[in-house]
């Protein structure tokens, strides 16, 4: 029995729940959509969502109602909603479950959002590797169309909403909202410069909202149970529940839905069953690969946007990666950097060039060829990337590096001094570039 009341994962936790339209409706699905279409104005819904305190679950935690309110009301042309289902952040796999196991929950949320912002067209941009998810969504959409839950004149309200699935092609950067827009437009997925922001010039230069899967999935519940109920869960400015993906050296990795604000200690030692082999904890990443690393001394920090930020990291995508004592931090940082180097879109100089150099230096330290001054060089390189790039990828890629140096400098120094990795003495790695 889970310790906390499930909201988003509730349906799928029922034995035999199939996620079909019928099953979802039996569980009360699409009542929220009917209600808003019949009884509420778009402005009303935006107000309600603002009151609920819902913040984006994709990474940045931007207040959802506020984001919607930037969409120009008197816009003549089309407006769009793009659901971000690109979930590519290493260590994060919650959207995948929300899609595969209960697709109508997010579809209902998507329709509610479309109505609220006046968009008649929605795209779900799904990560290319999610074959099953795409298939499930396609089927769910067909079911919903047949039941006239999408298409024209929903519930006789005169409101039209069309939705389709757009599959990614394997680039992490397409999760960044403007790269995602480029990709839907059929172009190379690379982030746009901002301003203009998508709310004004988004997909095909029209006003566009981009929301994460989990963000949308919360909407039916906010409508059904009210903003006050939602706001009562969690702490401070972090309301509602959050589905955390726990991975790494824990006994029970997996997705766990908990109210915002539980502590990391509870998350790791209680909910995820504790450390694998009961080994001591060395470090953890609280919010996906781009969140700076934290140390055991941070275990009692609550998992909410503000507290984690204050502690120098970020809640990000909710992917918690746990590392035990025998993990080589340099190796871990290098591993993450390999990912970022591979995924840099290559558009802007600091990220394109910097990621390669950072990785090259990490490689040589890990292989025992580190030199004096390499740590400073790494810090220097990161400083030249951070804050100087087109998109937030720049901050993302330096986060793990700078934090690992900050918390584990001695380990880096040991690598260099001893001319070998204390954990992987025989490391041989291929060259970068």
């Amino acid at each position: 029995m889970p310790k906390y009341e499930l909201v988003l994962l509730k349906n799928m936790a029922q034995p035999g729940y199939t996620g079909s339209l019928e099953a979802y409706r039996q569980a009360g699905g699409y009542a929220a959509l009917e209600k808003v279409l019949k009884e509420r104005t778009p402005a009303d819904i935006i107000e309600e969502v603002k009151k609920s305190g819902l913040r984006g679950r994709g990474g940045a935690g931007f207040p959802t109602g506020l984001k919607w309110s930037f969409i120009p009301k008197d816009h003549k042309g089309l407006k769009y909603l793009c659901c971000n289902a690109d979930e590519s952040e290493p260590g994060t796999y919650k959207d995948r479950q929300l899609i595969e196991r209960d697709p109508h929950q997010m579809l209902e949320g998507l329709a509610i959002c479309c109505y609220a912002i006046g968009a008649e067209r929605a795209y779900i941009y799904i990560r290319g590797e999610f074959d099953l998810g795409a298939e499930v969504l396609e089927n769910a959409i067909q079911e919903a169309y047949r039941a006239n839950l999408f298409g024209k004149d929903l519930f006789g309200s005169g409101v039209n909403v069309d939705v389709s699935v757009h599959r990614g092609a394997g680039a992490y950067i397409c999760g960044e909202e403007t790269a995602l827009l480029e990709s839907i437009e059929g172009k190379r997925g690379k982030p746009r410069i901002k301003p203009p922001f998508p709310a004004i010039h988004g997909l095909y230069q029209e006003p566009t909202v981009i929301n994460n899967v989990e963000t949308l999935a919360n909407l039916p519940h906010i409508i059904n149970r009210g903003a006050e109920w939602f706001a009562s869960i969690g702490i401070g400015k972090s309301t509602g529940t959050r589905v955390f993906s726990v991975s790494g050296h824990v006994k029970r990795p997996g997705n766990y839905e908990v109210p915002m604000g539980v502590t990391l200690r509870e998350m790791i030692y209680d909910i995820a069953g504790g450390m694998r082999g009961d080994k001591p904890l060395k470090a953890f990443i609280p919010g996906g690969a781009s969140a700076p690393m934290m140390k055991p001394e941070h275990l009692d920090i609550p998992l909410d946007f503000e507290s984690i930020k204050e502690a120098g990291s970020m809640l990000g995508s909710g992917g918690i990666t746990v590392m035990e004592e025998e993990t080589c931090i340099v190796w871990a940082a290098m591993n993450l950097m390999e990912f970022f180097h591979h995924e840099s879109c290559g558009q802007c100089t600091p990220c394109r060039e910097g990621s390669g150099w950072v990785l090259q230096i990490l490689h040589r330290i890990e292989q025992g060829h580190g030199r004096e001054g390499d740590i400073e060089q790494l810090e220097n390189l990161c400083r030249r990337i951070e804050g100087k790039t087109v998109c937030a990828f720049g901050e993302a890629e330096v986060g793990p590096i700078l934090s690992s140096i900050k918390h584990f400098r001695a380990e880096y120094e040991q690598h260099i001094r001893e001319k070998c990795c204390p954990f992987h003495p025989n490391a041989t790695l291929s060259m970068v570039h």
């Binding site: 879109c345 802007c348 394109r352 060039e353 150099w357 087109v390």
Partner: protein, 867 residues
């Protein structure tokens, strides 16, 4: 609301237009900000991150190239934070760079080199393992050295945003990012060279001029291109007397710094080894190289002899419309005054005269529309489906209008909409394209006229003209028009209404009309169409006729045709001399005995047999040219003229814009600027004494000639469409003879309709001397639709035989597929072989005598390979 914004940059106040970007404002404030991806022609992309600045109230540094100024903004461009960030970016850019400046063609004018010096040492700061790419090539003309690339995407963005060719793109990610031809195919773009020019470093360079120079050796001369009537300003860059390359400056000239392949890669024709460089005379059947003194004497002796024996009218002259205004003026002066003959014609006869004569007839001037009008128009009606090929930069203006000014484009041409290479195809970009049967342009004009007449004709149409048009159209049905053009009544009505009801509508016509059958009448009918639509006499309206030659407009204005004295003074019928072809025929009859050809080769441009027969009858043939031709081989005197790069003067482009050309190098060998040759001859014709020719030049400079030419124009210069338009229109309305004949139905009989036309990569014969251009195209191919080819089982590159009904001549050519051609049509570009022209039916315009021989019905068959 004020559109001016005041901000502070490095404590200095500046006021700039709203919408200005910080980098531009800083420049005005005297603070140059280092940059790579920024370019005034391109939309901001802010990818290089070099131009970061500090802006008060913004926590992060901002890219000054993408940030617009706002009121009260406070900017620091050189604070410690900024310099540190810029140093960081610079270090990143140099990190993977090969630092091979000494062997890079960009060395000396490289932004990376310049800014690196500004920010410290040129070394690679991080590690030893640099990323490396193999050197490759973008097609035959462009070298790609990606190790030098800074990934600023200026090349890609220029190709997309300016040229609209979309041939380039980004490949790979992260530090392996490189630019490449889209889909990694062989590049088949417009080869405008823009990517080479806009690349801030040496990553893209021209293969034509590789390792030929160091940039600081180059002398630069700004002049005007001579390959078409667009009138593009370009810079010839020379070392001693050799043109090494061409460049153009952003924003400069009618072209705003954009060029086409001919302008950018076509300079090699000037220094070509086959140029004529010494005067030659034919003496006792021998060719003798002689001094200019001797050559001049021979010319004047020959001309005087002809005048004495047969009278002045036994002399004729034809001059190329690629000569300057001054030269054409002097040549007609030599003919009309010194010799006393009315027989003077020019290259404008090959079509452009149809436009000038018709437009001046109706409006009193041919200066109706300029490039600015293309941008200002809401709607363009274009009878030039091949505009990218014939007039690439005017086509660029059209593309710019539809992209950036929301202008509607209606194209009318015997092409499909389809574009298949990265060469822009206007029908492909059109709001609506009307595909007509080949040769039915005239019937299409009729269709639009009828549609607008029955729709909402302009109330300002002079009533007598309106009645005449109505009467002429009366009795011709849309069914008849449809059977000729293949276009429905509805389409004519839709487009006709779209054009006539536009706020500002502009017509553009190209060679399909000017060199189509009865082009003069077609131009009159188009002029009437523009009046009927109310689309003339205001900004963004009128008619722009596209010129093939760089000075076709000027050739007529300077008096280089029999019907006009300088300044478009129209001569009465009986005062007019012969047109080019009439001179040839008069020579055949023995009426013309001496002919002076300047840059004209009638054996190529007119029916060859007829010309050959005629030339044989002449007593005296003078050829002044750049290269040896079929005709110079027959001449009694050959004078080496100077190309546009070796002389000064003026060209008037097809907008009627007169621009200076400037001498970049000395004339090759003993060649002379043509204007000097003419003015010496004018003076020599006057005197019987022996005076050294150097003393006979007469004019101090081309400017003195120009002054005299302008003085010779009684209406003043230039004549613009102004208050006189109404007067002129009224007179035209009163005398107009509007006739429309029911169009002949277009019957397909299984044969092919062949069109001979221009290639984007060539202009006449001259361009075929430029290796840059022959690399792109050096042979004649016949284009056909792949479906036709499939039906006849013809593979690409396979040889086919083409023959014309009623003639047993056959030519063999390789086939190239083209999906833009309509099925049942063929296209051959004209630059390489004469044979095809010899086979096609030949007619002339009943009013202007313009020769027509570009189209015909042919049959096509596989070449049977005997085994």
């Amino acid at each position: 609301m004020s559109s001016r914004i005041t901000l502070k940059i490095n404590d200095q106040e500046v006021t700039v237009e709203k919408g200005t970007r910080v980098i531009e404002a800083a420049k005005l404030a005297g603070a140059e900000i280092a940059h790579f991806c920024y370019h005034p022609k391109l939309k901001p992309d802010a990818n290089c991150r070099m131009c970061l600045v500090e802006i008060e109230k913004m926590p992060k540094l901002q890219t000054s190239c993408s940030t617009e100024v706002s009121e009260g903004m406070v900017v620091q461009t050189a604070s410690e934070k900024v310099l540190d960030a810029q140093k960081g970016v610079m270090a990143f850019l140099l990190g993977n760079h090969p630092l091979d400046c000494p062997e890079c063609d960009q060395g000396g004018e490289c932004q990376l080199q310049d800014f690196a010096h500004q920010y410290g040492a040129m070394t690679s700061p991080f590690g030893e393992t640099k990323r490396t790419f193999e050197k490759t090539y973008f097609g035959p003309l462009i070298e790609k050295e990606m190790n030098r690339c800074v990934s600023c995407l200026r090349c890609v963005r220029y190709c997309d945003e300016v040229i609209g060719s979309n041939a380039l793109g980004s490949m790979n990610r992260g530090s392996m990012h490189e630019v490449g031809a889209f889909a990694q195919q062989e590049l088949d773009c417009e080869f405008c060279g823009g990517c080479i020019q806009i690349c801030p470093v040496g990553a893209l360079t021209s293969r034509v001029s590789m390792f030929d120079y160091r940039t600081w050796q180059l002398k630069k001369t700004e002049t005007v291109c001579n390959y078409c009537g667009d009138g593009c300003t370009l810079t010839l860059e020379t070392v001693d007397e050799d043109i090494k390359r061409v460049s153009s400056e952003t924003g400069v000239g009618r072209n705003g710094g954009d060029l086409c392949a001919r302008g950018f890669f076509g300079y090699g024709a000037v220094n070509h080894e086959s140029r004529l460089t010494r005067p030659r005379i034919r003496l006792n059947n021998n060719d003798l190289e002689v001094t200019w003194e001797w050559a001049y004497q021979t010319v004047t002796d020959g001309l005087k002899a002809a005048i004495q024996t047969h009278g002045p009218k036994a002399v004729g002259g034809i001059i190329s419309a690629q000569c300057t205004n001054e030269e054409i003026y002097l040549f007609q002066k030599l003919m009309r005054e010194s010799v006393g003959t009315p027989h003077i014609d020019s290259g404008a006869r090959f079509g452009y005269i149809n436009a000038i004569a018709a437009l001046t007839d109706v409006f009193g001037t041919a200066r109706l529309s300029r490039y600015e009008d293309i941008s200002e128009a809401d709607c363009l009606l274009v009878f030039a489906g091949d505009m990218t090929e014939t007039n690439p930069i005017t086509a660029l203006k059209v593309k710019d209008a539809i992209r950036n000014h929301k202008t509607k484009l209606f194209t009318v041409a015997p092409y499909h909409r389809k574009r298949e290479t990265y060469i822009s195809h206007l029908p492909h970009l059109a709001t609506q394209h009307t595909e007509i049967s080949m040769g039915s342009e005239n019937a299409a004009i009729l269709g639009f006229t009828k549609a607008i007449l029955e729709g909402t004709p302009s109330p300002h149409t002079p009533s007598d003209l309106f009645e005449k048009i109505k009467f002429a159209v009366n009795g011709i049905s849309f069914d008849q028009i449809e059977s000729a053009t293949g276009v429905s009544e509805q389409a004519f009505k839709d487009i006709g209404a779209g054009f006539a009801n536009a706020e500002r509508g502009l017509i553009i016509v190209g060679r399909s009309i000017l060199r189509g059958i009865e082009g003069y009448q077609s131009m009159l009918r188009l002029a009437e169409l523009s009046i009927l639509s109310g689309q003339v006499g205001r900004p963004g309206t009128g008619i722009l006729a596209l010129a093939k030659e760089s000075n076709a407009f000027g050739a007529v204005e300077m008096g280089g045709t029999p019907e006009f004295l300088p300044g478009f003074q129209s001569l009465k019928k009986e005062e007019r001399g012969y047109t080019a072809l009439e001179m040839i025929d008069a020579a055949a009859r023995g009426e013309i005995k001496a002919l002076y050809l300047v840059g004209e080769n009638p054996l190529r441009s007119l029916p060859q047999k007829r010309v050959a027969e005629a030339l044989k009858q002449l007593d005296f043939l003078i050829c002044q040219d750049l290269y040896p031709t079929e005709t110079t081989a027959l001449a009694h005197v050959v004078l080496p003229g100077a190309s546009y790069a070796e002389k000064s003067g003026r060209f008037t482009n097809h907008e009627g814009e007169t621009q200076k050309i400037r001498e970049a190098i000395d004339p090759l060998g003993n060649a002379k600027p043509d204007w000097q040759i003419f003015s010496t001859l004018i003076n020599k014709m006057k005197t019987t004494e022996k005076v050294p020719y150097q003393k006979l030049l007469g004019y101090a400079s081309v400017d003195a000639v120009w002054k005299e030419a302008v003085m010779a124009m009684p209406q003043g210069w230039p004549v613009l469409l102004g208050s006189k338009m109404q007067e002129s229109l009224a007179a035209y309305a009163a005398r107009a003879n509007v006739t429309w004949l029911a169009p002949e139905p277009f019957v397909k009989n299984g044969a092919f309709d062949l069109q001979v036309g221009q290639s984007l990569f060539h202009s006449g014969k001259m361009s075929t001397y430029a290796t840059g251009l022959t690399t792109l195209q050096d042979k004649m191919m016949v284009l056909m639709h792949p479906e036709d080819a499939e039906r006849l089982e013809i593979e690409e590159e396979e040889l086919v035989q083409i023959s014309v009904e009623g003639s047993d001549a056959v030519i063999e050519l390789p086939v190239k597929y083209s999906k833009k051609l309509s099925e049942g049509t063929l296209f051959i570009s004209e630059h390489f072989a004469l044979e095809i022209k010899k086979m096609l039916p030949f007619t002339t315009d009943s009013t202007t005598g313009v020769p027509y021989g570009d189209r015909g019905r042919v049959s096509l068959a596989k070449v049977r390979v005997s085994t």
